[in-house]
């Protein structure tokens, strides 16, 4: 089966991870912009990061047979850094229309500060203006309050709720998202924090698969890019149907990101060509007599 991981920070991962993910059936990923483990001190480094997730990382993923997409944003932590926050906000419109950008994210609360709220609101407005999907991160501490506050702000801004995912849910917050909104509810499977695989199986048994997204969010911390796959195994053992699993790990992410206008359904059905140069082989002496590069691009686009 094909898997779309809707939230995973691949820039922090190794090529071995890509190989393992592709082998396990992960065909597409979406990488939300976030922080690097230590705060940036210049807008320029933030811009280069955006360029990386739009450009180099997309190419790197393609070399291992994975379609790479991203969402861009000023992340919650760095919303508190007045030296760069405004500058990043000015950059976003310049990158919002790129081919692999599926929306805005991740935005939201971390420490529940006034600055976080300011930039959450501004970016929800940006998403609304461009009718783009948006990923709302919920805090590790004070999660329930943070989730409720995020939902309240989203309702004030008036975003189309089907275009919003409230992410990193737990048993306490999932019912709030499902009952009080039409948003998607994201779940991040982490080895130690956030949501465990077993608990996730329980949530699906209790709440079903509608509007549920599951991601492994793997980053530079202790995390596992195959958590989605490992959760699927547990789901099978718990007799959750293949149809439901497919809905959770393919149909739902695709449906969530589709309104971006940047998901080509036909294109993501199969992994990208792993080594584009293979088109140039065949006749090793005469290669290049015909304009092979362009043919190659057409095939891979």
């Amino acid at each position: 089966m094909k898997i779309f991981d809707p939230h995973i920070h691949m820039t922090a991962r190794t090529t071995d991870d890509y190989v393992a993910m592709a082998q396990a059936g992960i065909v597409a990923v979406c990488e939300p912009a976030f922080w690097l483990g230590q705060p940036r001190t210049h807008v320029g480094t933030y811009e280069d990061y955006l360029k990386t997730i739009i450009g180099w990382e997309r190419f790197r993923a393609s070399q291992f047979g994975v379609h790479h997409f991203c969402t861009i944003a000023l992340n919650p932590r760095e919303a508190n850094n007045s030296k760069i926050a405004q500058g990043v906000m000015e950059l976003l419109p310049l990158y919002l229309h790129k081919e692999s950008v599926l929306g805005i994210g991740e935005i939201g609360f971390d420490d529940m500060t006034a600055d976080e709220e300011k930039y959450l609101r501004l970016q929800l407005e940006l998403a609304k203006e461009h009718s783009l999907p948006v990923i709302v991160h919920t805090p590790h501490r004070n999660k329930k309050k943070g989730t409720e506050r995020s939902i309240a702000i989203m309702k004030e801004v008036g975003n189309q709720e089907e275009l919003v995912v409230i992410d990193h849910n737990t048993e306490e917050t999932l019912p709030i998202v499902l009952e009080q909104t039409n948003c998607w509810a994201g779940h991040t499977i982490y080895p130690q924090t956030k949501m465990s695989r077993n608990r996730m199986v329980g949530l699906v048994q209790k709440y079903g698969v509608e509007r549920i997204l599951i991601n492994s969010s793997a980053d530079w911390g202790v995390s596992d890019p195959l958590n989605s796959i490992k959760t699927i195994q547990l789901m099978r053992e718990a007799s959750i149907s293949e149809k439901q699993i497919e809905t959770l790990f393919w149909d739902n992410p695709v449906q969530f990101y589709l309104p971006s206008g940047n998901l080509d359904l036909k294109e993501i059905q199969t992994p990208p060509q792993i080594d584009q140069r293979k088109f140039w082989e065949g006749n090793s002496v005469l290669r290049g007599q015909t304009p092979l590069v362009e043919t190659n691009q057409e095939e891979s686009e």
Binding site: I54, G55, W56, R58, F59, P93, L94, Y95, H97, K98, E99, S100, G261, Q276, R277, W280, S284, V285, L286, R287, G288, Q289, P291, L292, V293, E294, T295, N296, Q297, E298, S300, E301
Partner: protein, 291 residues
């Protein structure tokens, strides 16, 4: 070069909605030009034009190649790439008509590249040679030579006359070396023969020395370059590979020697003819000694 425009094929390819967008944004840029809306439209092209090739007939393609002065495979360019090229051509027209200053024109093209995603950067790189006074954009090519994103690099290196037209010897050689290193077909580099130089041959020989020492494979189209060169180092190597064990390399040497009118290796070729078992190579060698 005659003024080149892709407007009519784009109109043919566009849906009604796409064409309405195209016309509307053209009027906007003509009326009141500013950089950011142009950059946005440069990106938004992908919403209105497809990834499939524009589908020129061979006579149409030839017509465009004649206007461009280079055999660039326009028929394989995607609708999106043609549309982006046309946007840049129109930008240069706006500059000619003084709707925007030369400086702003140059800055806008550079920003299309700077802010561009991979496909946008490729479109800029492949359009550059069609823009007036294109050598002002050399810095973009120099940036591309350093990229690790091979699709963008080949956008510059392959089927694109810009390196041959605008790059100095050192940078042009770097394009060729990087192509060789990355297994990009050398035959796709335009102007390779015209831009041949002794330093390039030297660099190739150093690289081959390294590969031979490491017993790593060497692409057999490397003879496309060396057969244009007459240095002692090249002659030694051609003689060695002509009678070498690797039949693919023997074929490569024979194939590209046959494309030159060099008489340097007649003795060796006659000797090799006596022992060459491969029919294809034999035939090529015969053609060289008895044209």
């Amino acid at each position: 070069m005659k003024t080149l425009s892709f407007t009519s094929p784009l109109e043919m390819a566009a849906s009604e909605k796409s064409w309405a967008w195209w016309q509307e944004r053209k009027l906007q840029h003509q009326g009141n030009f500013s950089v950011n809306p142009f950059l946005k439209d440069f990106s938004l092209v992908r919403r209105y034009f497809g990834k499939k090739s524009i589908g020129f007939s061979s006579s149409q393609e030839k017509e465009y190649q004649e206007m461009a002065g280079w055999k660039v495979p326009f028929a394989l360019w995607s609708e999106q790439k043609i549309a982006r090229t046309q946007l840049l051509l129109e930008l240069s027209n706006l500059s000619n008509l003084s709707h925007l200053s030369e400086t702003l024109y140059q800055e806008t093209v550079e920003k299309c590249y700077y802010y561009g995603d991979n496909n946008e950067q490729i479109a800029v790189l492949q359009s550059l040679f069609l823009l007036p006074n294109c050598s002002r954009f050399v810095s973009l090519a120099l940036d591309t030579i350093r990229t690790n994103v091979m699709t963008v690099f080949t956008g510059l290196a392959c089927e694109n006359p810009f390196p041959a037209i605008c790059l100095d010897e050192h940078s042009f050689n770097n394009v060729v070396l990087k192509a060789l290193f990355s297994e990009v077909p050398l035959g796709a580099i335009l102007g390779l023969k015209q831009r041949h130089n002794g330093s390039l041959a030297d660099m190739i020989h150093d690289w081959m020395d390294e590969r031979e020492a490491a017993r790593r494979p060497i692409p057999t189209d490397i003879w496309r370059i060396l057969c244009n060169d007459k240095s002692p180092r090249t002659q030694e190597r051609i003689r060695r590979y002509l009678k070498g064990e690797d039949s693919e390399h023997r074929y490569g040497v024979a194939y590209f020697l046959n494309e030159t009118s060099s008489l340097l290796y007649q003795t060796e070729i006659i000797q090799q003819l006596e022992q060459e078992k491969d029919n294809k190579i034999h035939a090529l060698l015969e053609r060289i000694v008895e044209p």
